[in-house]
Amino acid sequence: MLHEYGNIGILAIIALIFPAGAVVTSWAMTFMGMRPKVFQDPVKKDTYECGVRTEGESLVQFNFRFYYIALLFVLFDVEIIFLFPWALEMAKLGWRAYFEGLGFVGILSLGILYAWRKRALEWR
């Protein structure tokens, strides 16, 4: 059993070498005369902003709704991690496990109803 995880570990190393190889090959082509030399130019290396000079910082304000979405996601993702063992064993544990699991989902569904009622899901 454990050597199957070892296979994935070895594959992880291959998976990192594979894209690095592509980037390094592309970089090495400069020295083989198959890729033009890069001209350093401050205008060319400037941040892209529709053709005009960049104004101000790039770390601008963004919509605060992203914060609500992240909170709701944490709520449901933790719920789902608890539900996977329940889903595997529910049939063996009987009706009590069934009502407990679905009660848990029901209580968390009240959470999303509250967020909906408080207009946390409106995007404006």
């Binding site: 059993m1 050597h3 199957e4 995880y5 296979n7 994935i8 070895i10 594959l11 992880a12 291959i14 998976a15 990192l16 594979f18 894209p19 690095a20 592509a22 980037v23 090959t25 592309s26 082509m29 198959m34 890729r35 033009p36 401050p42 290396k45 400037d46 941040t47 892209y48 902003e49 960049t54 790039s58 770390l59 601008v60 963004f62 919509n63 992203f66 979405i69 992240a70 709701l72 996601f73 993702d77 789902i80 539900l83 996977f84 889903a87 595997l88 529910m90 049939a91 009706w95 069934y98 699991g101 679905l102 989902v105 569904s109 999303i112 909906w116 899901l121 409106e122 995007w123 404006r124």
Partner: protein, 424 residues
């Protein structure tokens, strides 16, 4: 391990390629130390899955087929210059991307920007480790493969956010924020749909799910149509395919998190978008469409050929939606995830759990009775989708059947053109 599916264990029986790789490994084991043979086994699996699956899918279906099909959908020819029928276009693209100058903006974060493509590509290779290509053709046959797949498929979002943050560009940052928000929104209904599958199959191993579907002669897509529909829509949103590609919408934010990338690093992002779509298609083919089994046909046709065919046919549906649907707005997408998909996914979970309990208690866990649930679930799917859409304000009878003028529809016409009066 003798399997009833396979006729022989001989190396020339290409219905199961693991026979051939075992021949190589057994001979290598006689001359090399065991540790090196262990690494070679994984390399062999990587090369084999690359040759039979990723390379033809990525180059022919992914790059060439997608552009050609979308071209035909939009009444153009698509690539037709390089090679016969333009078949060498993907290779020409790869050579061009390798030769292109790789720009690095002066204000960008050099380390984060350079690491992001590597972190974006690596999970895609790792996802294929748990996809079964045949009864014994699987790189890592781990018992918690479903959780592994969900966890690893969450990593590229991190890489996309790194790319957007490290570029130090306003559009990149907006694109990165959007991709994170959309991925985590659609992750919730997607995993709830997969929870329903786990309820029925009672295993987290993808190989176990294929065997379950093969033993019962049913696909989970039939037994749980709503789970399948939710999976398809949610995974399409997570992959940033065109109906939902708000993270790189070029009419709003130039290219999203890819704005500052060029050359091979951009090529890795572009190529792996297709790679993730193929991984999601292979996962859907495995979990919902029976994997390498096809109602007994897998005795005669190589199983790896069946799953490659299923994956590519599923990927065609992605191309079709991409070619025909217009892009949605960010508020529409968020509302769809939280107000439509999540409630019906929870209702689906309730119904499936009840059916599972009925199955165990009333039908004494007789596996034949899964067919009882097929019509019930089909009716439930149609009913809940229609009822919830009505509840949220969908009124098909109010949709006008024929074209109307703007002022008849209650619209605003400037320059005094109201009351049906025509202007020269």
């Amino acid at each position: 391990m003798p399997l009833p599916i396979l006729a022989t264990n001989n190396w020339y029986d290409f219905r199961d390629l693991s026979n051939f790789s075992r021949l190589i490994l057994e001979n290598l084991d006689k001359i090399l130390p065991h540790g090196i043979v262990y690494v070679v086994a994984v390399l062999l699996g990587f090369v084999a899955s690359f040759l039979i699956f990723v390379l033809p899918s990525q180059l022919i279906v992914g790059v060439y087929g997608e552009r050609k099909l979308i071209g035909r959908i939009q009444s153009r020819y698509g690539p037709n210059r390089v090679g016969p029928f333009g078949l060498l276009q993907p290779i020409a693209d790869a050579v061009k991307l390798m030769q292109k100058e790789s720009l690095m903006p002066l204000r960008g974060d050099v380390i984060v920007m350079n690491i992001a493509p590597l972190i974006f590509v690596a999970p895609c290779v790792l996802l294929f480790a748990v996809i079964p290509f045949g009864p014994r053709m699987i790189i890592g046959n781990i018992p918690s493969a479903l959780i592994y797949f969900i966890a690893v498929s969450g990593l590229p979002v991190l890489a996309a956010f790194m790319a957007g943050w490290g570029s130090d560009n306003k559009y990149s940052l907006f694109g990165a924020m959007r991709i994170v928000a959309m991925s985590i929104s659609y992750e919730v209904p997607l995993v709830l749909a997969l929870l329903g599958v786990v309820l029925f199959t009672g295993t987290l191993s993808l190989q176990g799910m294929v065997f379950w579907q093969r033993d019962l002669n049913i696909w989970i897509a039939f037994a749980q149509p709503l789970s399948f529909a939710i999976y398809f829509i949610a995974v399409g949103a997570e992959l940033n395919r065109t109906p939902t590609d708000i993270a790189e919408a070029e009419s709003e934010i130039v290219a999203g998190y890819l704005t500052e990338y060029s050359g091979m690093k951009w090529g890795l992002f572009y190529g792996m978008d297709i790679g993730y779509a193929l991984a999601a298609s292979a996962f859907a083919a495995t979990v919902f469409l029976g994997g390498w089994s096809f109602f007994g046909l897998d005795k005669w046709v190589p199983p790896w050929l069946i799953i490659v065919t299923k994956t590519q046919l599923f990927y065609m549906i992605f191309i079709w939606t991409r070619g025909t649907l217009p892009r949605l707005r960010v508020d529409q997408l968020m509302a769809f995830a939280w107000k439509f998909m999540l409630p019906i996914a929870i209702a689906n979970l309730f119904v499936l759990a009840t059916e599972r309990m009925m199955w165990v208690r009333a039908f004494d866990a007789d596996l034949k009775f899964v067919w009882v649930f097929v019509p019930i679930n089909l009716l439930f799917t149609a009913g809940v989708v229609f009822a919830w859409a009505r509840f949220l304000g969908y009124r098909p009878e109010n949709t006008p059947r024929k074209a109307r003028l703007v002022n008849q529809a209650g619209g605003f016409i400037p320059l005094g053109g109201a009351k049906g009066e025509t202007r020269p």
